[in-house]
Symmetry: C2
Subunit: 299 residues, 2 copies
């Protein structure tokens, strides 16, 4: 579904660099580097880093300069999956068909691998800062991108969504609460990917606004498509854990809105996302294609 | 022990601002803000943020500008305690005489409170970045400080130390391994506090070097003093968990080196630390006093 040439080119760039900001193996803490790499290698579509690089290029920037930020996003996404799968949270034994991190390395190592990935994300974003000391404009772009990402992954973003998700288990979830959970848990980091990419590429305020709305619509569309595929049986393809009880107890777009309405919401969000970006994304480029691909696959 | 006027003044500054970078309570994720505040309010000496502010002033800077970084350090320290106390790690029911975070809020909330605090630390460091866009020198100082802290709390610092600590349980710990654990788990963040404070205050390369060595020596001295107090029974005063079996299984400086040698190491590190900073810290100022206070209390 995401195999169009532009995606493939950027995905290659991500995969070539994805381990470049991880720690070396140290004999005294050997399991750390290993458990972090294990989950990072488990793959997935790398949609967040690819979106970041594409947004950087759309804004006229050089995607090579954005690579540490792209990797940082994948580290943050991966840490969130590791912690999410823990027995105290979703208690998932598998992830993308393989044993989840704590099933291989134990709970303590999995908690610390997550902590290590989140820390490494911020380290990656700052590591080559000296290279930009004589380029004040670039330094500012990087500072803005780092702030965008730090805000999206924390208590006004992903972590807030995770907490709301846990607190909502086994209660009757309203449509508003479901939106709150998914806007924060999933859409915030996808929105941050395109906005941070925009900043890194030197986007002006109007393009940043368009990317922000596009990212949020796409992020929510992504979650709805995920929920629909979960019902229609293609969940594994989306990288979701399969066959666990906790996930089944959770509210989804189909469980709250029904399948037909969920499909309509997905179409609506896809159209809205494309509309936001269409004046920049000429000739139905990357951002239009990725939004359509998500929708076509499901509807 | 840390009640001299300079410490009290800076501690007040920290405590006045410590909750300023936490999320608002949201009805959908109410436990998040509450559980983060619970552990942050449990107190302690706030030694890391106080050191950061003092180093900023030593370098000639304005400590008011360094407050977000000081708070960030305390958030990072607090997150590490919450995760450390979890059943899968040290399994401590109490911390500073009160129930540990997961005993009050449950394991899921405690894991996410830790994740939230670490994210909030980076958010705090970047939140007011726009204020410095027309002051490129200040922007650079802040970028360096953020990198110093991100490197110290991650896989080449605190998280590596935590992993080594877990892996070393129930094995015969060499003096080298003990140093590796404590240099990373404890000293790295204390070193980052004084180095980041130095950067924020505009320190030159020579002062940064001195602060780096001072911080590492002080950080290790801090741990040795902590271990000694653990044996002599004043552990609770240092903020350590008490009465758990896991902690007793762990190697400490007294268990590896004996009490007399541990005291000698502490004295040696204290002298070395003071020597590093003495040419800057005129009239036996803050940095000399804090190093002496640690040592006098124990030896």
């Amino acid at each position: 579904m995401l195999d169009f040439p532009e995606y493939t080119r950027l995905l290659y760039l991500v995969n070539e660099n994805i381990e470049g900001f991880l720690p070396e193996v140290d004999v005294n803490s050997a399991s750390l580097a290993e458990s972090m790499r294990y989950s990072l290698r488990a793959g997935g579509k790398r949609i967040r880093p690819v979106l970041l690089l594409a947004a950087c290029e759309l804004a006229g920037g050089d995607s090579a300069e954005a690579i540490p930020y792209a990797c940082a996003l994948e580290y943050i996404h991966t840490y969130s999956l590791i912690h999410d799968d823990l027995p105290a949270l979703d208690d998932d034994d598998t992830r993308r068909g393989a044993p989840s991190n704590h099933k291989v390395y134990g709970e303590a190592a999995a908690i610390l691998a997550g902590d290590g990935l989140l820390s490494s994300a911020f380290e990656a974003m700052h590591r080559d800062i000296l290279m930009y000391f004589d380029k004040p404009d670039r330094l500012k772009r990087r500072a803005r991108a780092a702030y965008e990402i730090s805000a999206a992954c924390g208590c006004r973003g992903m972590v807030a969504g995770q907490v709301a998700d846990i607190e909502a288990e086994d209660i009757d979830v309203s449509s508003e609460l479901l939106d709150y959970i998914q806007v924060n848990k999933t859409a915030a980091l996808i929105r941050a990917a395109v906005v941070a990419g925009g900043y890194l590429g030197g986007a002006d305020a109007a393009l940043i606004d368009s990317l922000r709305f596009y990212g949020e619509d796409l992020g929510l569309a992504f979650q709805i498509a995920d929920d629909i595929l979960d019902v229609t049986g293609d969940a594994e393809e989306m990288g979701k854990p399969t066959g666990n009880d906790a996930a089944r107890r959770k509210a989804t777009y189909p469980s709250v809105h029904g399948m037909d309405e969920s499909r309509e919401m997905l179409s609506g969000l896809t159209r809205a996302a494309i509309e936001r970006i269409t004046s920049y994304d000429r000739n139905a480029g990357f951002f239009t294609e990725i939004a359509r691909a998500l929708s076509v696959r499901v509807c």
